[in-house]
């Protein structure tokens, strides 16, 4: 059973009187545990597709199914918030940490808004995931006291702490140097293997693509290439 299924998804932005199509009838299936990269040139529709998959944006047309049965395209704004809260993790290009919260609190944020997790349980989960991403001892630091790589690791920990089935990462290494990019990608790969979490990236960084187990190329809002397996042909 696929984790995610997109059927003829379209997205059109209305800019004044002009309709700008961003996604043109994309159909995709993402299996559980995939480590997928969506790539393509700027403006090809990568982020829009990721936003639609992540329920941050609604498609103009088409349907999205989660675990075959849940039709995401018909959910209300509140239902979508709830869905994201319990099922999805996000990693953003700019890490987007809350500057007034410590690393621990930033990670805790993701499960603090989930009902039924005790304070003790929360603490254990947060410390455990922070250890997993190599941030033990830095729990009490605020974002301005962390390096770029450390911040992105906090963001990864925040995305994974609730043990979501799907993590969406929009150009997660765009602001990192090569060394930090590799570290971050290794952590994500490790989590993918350890927890079976499904990862979908958008990127145009060949280094990221080399880690992918599936490569989906998008151009002008359409899937132009979809390949999976080991030793993929990564465009440079």
């Amino acid at each position: 059973m696929s984790l995610l299924k997109l059927k003829n998804v379209e997205k059109v932005y209305h800019q004044g009187k002009i309709d700008v199509p961003a996604i043109r009838g994309i159909s995709l299936e993402i299996e559980k545990g995939e480590f997928t990269t969506i790539f393509g040139p700027s403006g090809s529709g990568k982020t829009t597709l990721l936003n639609i998959i992540g329920c941050l944006d609604k498609p103009t047309d088409g349907e999205i199914y989660y675990e075959a049965e849940k039709k995401l395209s018909t959910l209300t704004k509140n239902e979508l918030s709830n869905f994201r809260r319990y099922n999805l993790g996000f990693i953003f290009q700019g890490h987007n940490l809350i500057p007034v919260l410590t690393a621990f609190e930033n990670v805790e944020f993701a499960i603090r808004i989930i009902d039924g997790i005790s304070k003790k349980e929360r603490r254990e989960k947060v410390l455990d995931i922070l250890n997993s991403v190599g941030l033990e001892g830095l729990e009490d630091r605020r974002p301005n006291e962390l390096s770029g790589g450390q911040k992105q690791r906090v963001a990864i920990a925040r995305a994974l702490v609730k043990n979501p089935k799907l993590v969406l990462a929009d150009e997660p290494t765009a602001n990192l140097d090569s060394e930090n990019s590799q570290e971050v990608l290794n952590i994500m790969l490790k989590m993918n293997k350890k927890l079976g979490t499904t990862f979908i990236f958008s990127t145009h960084d060949p280094q990221v693509m080399e880690y992918a187990k599936r490569l989906i190329e998008i151009r002008d809002g359409k899937v132009t290439h979809d390949e999976q397996g080991e030793n993929l042909d990564v465009p440079h």
Binding site: N51, R85, L101, F109
Partner: protein
């Protein structure tokens, strides 16, 4: 909720200067409101009190036809009791009624004196000295000497009047007047006291003589131009008025006399009451002005944190929860600012309620028309402090809903795109 509050609380310290400026704006507005309310209440209470003491009492009884001739100080239409039995008996009878604390007759008449070539216009009040002490605060106004005594040809003058007459305590003074038969007469009285009311209108024109002497020289046996009634409070005048009318009706005098509450006798005071409502609107506008500062601050905050809002929304925070975070931030600024403003405003008002604000020069200009104390004592009270605090807190909380809603309505995908 606790987490949202913690987050909102910490957010306030992100840009301390901006938070301090917003809180200061609210504090200043609330402080001004506390002080302005205290000042207005002080001015109005003082004026109400003066009008009650010197003009209308809480309830005034006059002859039906006297109303339009009050300014002329006519002696043709006066109060001479029930069926002419005398004003003193009438006052005694009225004091028997529940709600009536005091009923005092006053006989007001026009007079003049001519110390040299100049003619000085005056206003005489025939009074019962003991009753006057109970009704007004005249005992505190004595600059020299004492009050007149019943049966004696004695006179008490205002300090401004005695000065313009070139007289001093112990001197005799001859006043000229028209009696109730329009005959032009003169009488001499001994000056036994000088009062300084701090009210130029009264000080420069008024003199007191005993009621019996006034009745004698004006040939108005047992009469007075008005009977003033004091109730427990100004608010009770409306309830006591029908009782007075009933007593008049029972004594066949219902049609002869007109019963007026303080507000009916002084239409100006009604305007004062309307002014209170207008001032309340001004207070609200003033705090709204500070609210605009909060709105501006919050709009800047929302703009700065757009990506963060997008991130929180992506993590599953609902619009309502985002709204709450921003409302808590605005409310916190509103509450702290209002508290500081209410406390500092109260301290300032309390200080001036003791030391007063001297408006002597300004009062000199308006005193020809209004009874207004030249030293204004703003009224300090806890109710004012609480009112202003609540007004400030509520208005700033309401105003911050506008930017908070803007934050809550942001679409996560658009917010995340914001640079």
């Amino acid at each position: 909720m606790k987490f949202l509050m913690t987050l909102a609380g910490r957010n306030l310290f992100r840009n301390k200067m901006r938070t301090i400026v917003s809180i200061t704006a609210i504090a200043i507005a609330v402080m001004v409101v506390v002080f302005a309310r205290g000042l207005v209440i002080g001015v109005l209470d003082s004026s109400f009190s003066l009008y009650v003491q010197y003009d209308s009492g809480h309830i005034k009884i006059i002859d039906e036809d006297y109303e339009n001739k009050t300014e002329l100080l006519s002696l043709k239409h006066y109060v001479d009791g029930f069926e002419g039995n005398g004003v003193l008996k009438m006052a005694d009878r009225l004091e028997e009624e529940e709600g009536v604390q005091l009923a005092i007759p006053r006989l007001k008449f026009g007079a003049m004196a001519s110390p040299g070539e100049e003619i000085i216009r005056m206003m005489g009040w025939g009074v019962i000295p003991e009753s006057e002490f109970q009704f007004t605060k005249i005992e505190t106004a004595f600059e020299q000497g004492r009050m007149v005594k019943m049966g004696k040809r004695e006179i008490v003058l205002g300090s401004g009047l005695i000065s313009s007459l070139n007289k001093k305590l112990g001197d005799n003074i001859t006043i000229l007047y028209k009696n109730s038969f329009d005959a032009f007469k003169g009488s001499t009285f001994k000056i036994v006291g000088v009062v300084d009311h701090y009210l130029p209108l009264i000080n420069n024109r008024l003199f007191y003589i005993p009621l019996d002497q006034a009745q004698r020289i004006l040939i108005m046996e047992d009469g007075a131009t008005e009977v003033l009634i004091k109730t427990k409070s100004m608010g009770e005048a409306e309830q006591v008025k029908p009782i007075i009318q009933q007593v008049l009706g029972d004594n066949e005098s219902r049609d002869k006399y007109l019963v007026q509450t303080w507000s009916e006798a002084n239409p100006t005071l009604k305007l004062f009451n309307i002014a209170k409502y207008i001032y309340n609107i001004i207070y609200i506008l003033l705090i709204l002005l500070a609210g605009v500062v909060v709105i501006n601050t919050m709009i800047m905050i929302v703009k700065e944190r757009t990506q963060e809002i997008g991130m929180m929304s992506a993590l599953g925070l609902k619009s309502r929860e985002i709204l709450i975070i921003f409302i808590i931030e605005g409310t916190f600024m509103g509450i702290v600012g209002s508290f500081l403003g209410a406390v500092s405003g109260s301290i300032f008002t309390k200080y001036l309620s003791i030391h007063g604000i001297d408006y002597t020069e300004a009062v000199g200009v308006v005193s020809g028309e209004f009874l207004m104390n030249p030293t204004i004592y703003p009224v300090f009270n806890v109710e004012n402090m609480i009112f202003s605090f609540i007004l400030g807190s509520v208005i700033t909380t309401l105003t911050c809903i506008i930017p908070a809603r803007r934050a809550a309505k942001l679409e996560p995908s658009e917010a995340l795109r914001d640079i």
